[in-house]
Symmetry: C2
Subunit: 425 residues, 2 copies
């Protein structure tokens, strides 16, 4: 079968997946957890082969680190599955219960989206997390992982699918695609696939968005900012800036730009510069910054760049308004933080900054589904529609309106014989 | 200024609109209501000119009816504005309040989407409703109404914008575009416009979707079904079918196809056929239907057709499963109804039918923002993402995550010095 045909079959069967009970879905997750543990040696072996090939091909160290899937990662993902089992059912949640009239009851209830295609990087743990999230949320999934992890993914997928099917999940509730050329075919499945979630580079996500009619939930750049207000507490500020920049640089929620209120710059920048140097961070500052500390010059381009590296651009601003304007202009609407002890300044910043996450006095690195208590995430959305920020189970659900009547007709209301009374129950 | 430039300015100013208070937005709505009433003669005069021109151009009667904007419509829309003023603030609503740790508080709060472009048919009342919804939800709006209503729209827009500005809404919080060619330019404004809501024919909505990078919320066809189960109550069923088909035929929530359980067909169809004939409805039935009542033959194509006319296609099915499969295959995921006295059958139908609205024993014509108590609607979404079904204020909002810390850094959690405790407050 072609991918289009497989997707069409999946679409038809997706209603079966949608009506599985929480118990059935949790049982499948438990089955998957046990199967992954039982078959771990096979997975580790496949992963060693992937690692060897990647090593020979000279793949960069950070990618190798993500590719590695041995005991430690297995423990992480199986613990993650346990967490997910513990989360409440995202399906069948009543979001509204309204009497339109005495005998006409409207209920809005959450339900799965249907068929979701996820394209993710060469991280075998992502395969486990994404498949688990899709099962818990009652969605069918088409999974495409990065090709460097091909053998590991294939093995993990087999184990997951067999365990899920054995636990009673519908046949064909998920399938894997492997070749990069398969993506092209997947992009054409707008009649069967309800949502695509591409993860990876900005260029890749843009490519996907521009080549499909399927709705895409993804993130563009992650250009996160910290604005150091004049009212900040230096002892909190410096660790937060260091953590935001250095705790993990190659990720979208790492901070790329620091904006500093002119009145605090003289105090903050020298201490900060020293701390950043100690962590091997290259500072790129505007002219005003370089009058206070020695650093590389920052150009206009720096402020639009997602470094994903140990580089921080720094700019001095007149006031909070200039900071907000800079962020809304150069930022990617991902996550931006204000360092301040003044609740009014924080409120202003949070109101005016148009980003999925607006923070006060904490690291931008907290922007993550796990850290928000979502169990895991399929991605982080910088779009504003449907889901914004880290996307967990809730972002994989939609809703339907159920209307229970007693022979009610619209003509009675249109012609004044009956009136709606709209009572929320 | 070009439309692109105007949209870019609007985008920058959209944060000002986002932070207006409920009182300010309601005051603007009240100002608009009063201004519309005060300037009604000018509006009526402009509308008479539109009507005259449309009459000369031989515009069809249903379109003329929608185009007409005199005393009655004015009363409707100004009453609608009063209703809207009475609705609670859709902004700043807490959707989540979770302590991630003792001193790390996550709040998810609703906020406006930003800049919304709405393209709607030649109905001056739609101009008032859409502009009002955008103001109440703190969104900036680019409005394009059908060209037949050009003079009326121009006048109404002037009155609305002046009243809104006088009441303190930000300058340029809305603008109107008039030429059809302006739409082409609007479609290119993906850097400034967050959402497009096109209303009109299916072809038009598809055209918009295929020619822009902006997110589009719209509906495809409205092929709504009624499934008459064997357990139905005939006295409820027949009025509901009649209402669904005939109360207003030219709309997306009118029923186009009736599916009848084989065991009830002999009883239902003769009575129904008579009632439909009395309402001038042409019945198109499958072979099995025509063995019971005299009617036109239905082809495969009929079941994929949105008639928007006094035509009903009818098919006999073996059971509820066949009905569900038919609806999921041929339907447009808009609104589908089961007629049954059996709660189990209703539950099954509602679970398996993959539509925005799933109804029991009531007319599909109830699928409407006003009738759901949303005050008004900007459209009905047959997509599954963001908003599904009638879209009112809530569908014009998104949310942001606010995280309040005390110098918290991720390294403490990653390295085990601190633990999240995820407590919903």
């Amino acid at each position: 079968m072609t991918i289009k045909e497989q997707a069409a079959v999946m679409k038809l069967n997706s209603t079966k997946m949608a009506v599985t009970t929480l118990e059935e879905r949790n049982r499948a997750l438990e089955g998957i957890r046990e199967a992954l543990l039982a078959h771990k040696e096979e997975i580790f072996k496949a992963n060693k082969e992937d690692m060897e090939r990647a090593g020979k091909e000279g793949i960069a160290a950070p990618i190798l680190k993500r590719l590695k899937f041995q005991e430690e990662k297995l423990q992480e993902v199986t613990t993650g599955i346990l967490d997910l089992i513990g989360l409440p059912d995202p399906l069948g949640k009543e979001q509204m219960r309204r009497e339109l009239d005495r005998d006409l009851l409207l209920i809005r209830e959450s339900c799965p989206i249907g068929v979701i295609g996820v394209i993710f990087e060469a991280r075998p743990d992502a395969m486990v997390q994404i498949a688990s999230l899709c099962i818990k949320s009652g969605n069918c999934a088409i999974l495409k992982g990065g090709s460097e992890a091909m053998k590991t993914n294939k093995k993990i997928f087999e184990i997951i699918y067999q365990a899920a099917a054995a636990a009673g999940m519908p046949e064909n509730c998920m399938f894997q695609i492997e070749a990069r050329s398969d993506i092209t075919e997947l992009l054409e499945c707008h009649e069967s696939v309800d949502l695509l979630i591409p993860r990876g580079s900005n260029e890749f996500v843009q490519y996907i968005m521009n080549h499909t009619k399927i709705a895409v939930m993804g993130h563009a750049d992650g250009i996160c900012h910290i604005y150091a207000d004049k009212t900040l507490d230096l002892d909190k500020a410096i660790p937060v800036i260091l953590d935001s920049k250095t705790q993990y640089t190659a990720v979208c929620n790492a901070t790329e730009t620091l904006l500093v209120h002119k009145e605090i710059a003289g105090e903050l920048l020298p201490r900060l510069n020293e701390a950043l140097r100690a962590k091997n961070v290259e500072v790129r500052g505007t002219k005003e910054v370089r009058q206070i500390v020695e650093c590389e010059p920052a150009t206009e381009e720096d402020f639009s760049t997602e470094y994903l590296d140990l580089i921080l651009s720094v700019k001095i601003v007149e006031d909070i308004q200039e900071a907000v304007d800079h962020i809304n202009k150069y930022g990617s609407h991902h996550t931006d933080c204000i360092l301040t002890e003044d609740p009014k300044a924080a409120r202003l910043f949070m109101q005016y900054v148009d980003s999925a996450g607006v923070y006060q006095n904490c690291s931008t690195r907290f922007a993550d589904g796990y850290r928000y208590g979502f169990g895991a995430e399929v991605g982080i959305s910088t779009g504003k529609l449907h889901a914004r920020g880290p996307v967990g189970l809730e972002g994989l659900c939609t809703y339907k309106y159920k209307l229970f009547g007693n022979g009610n007709i619209v003509a009675d209301y249109a012609e004044g014989r009956k009136q709606f009374h709209f009572k929320d129950l």
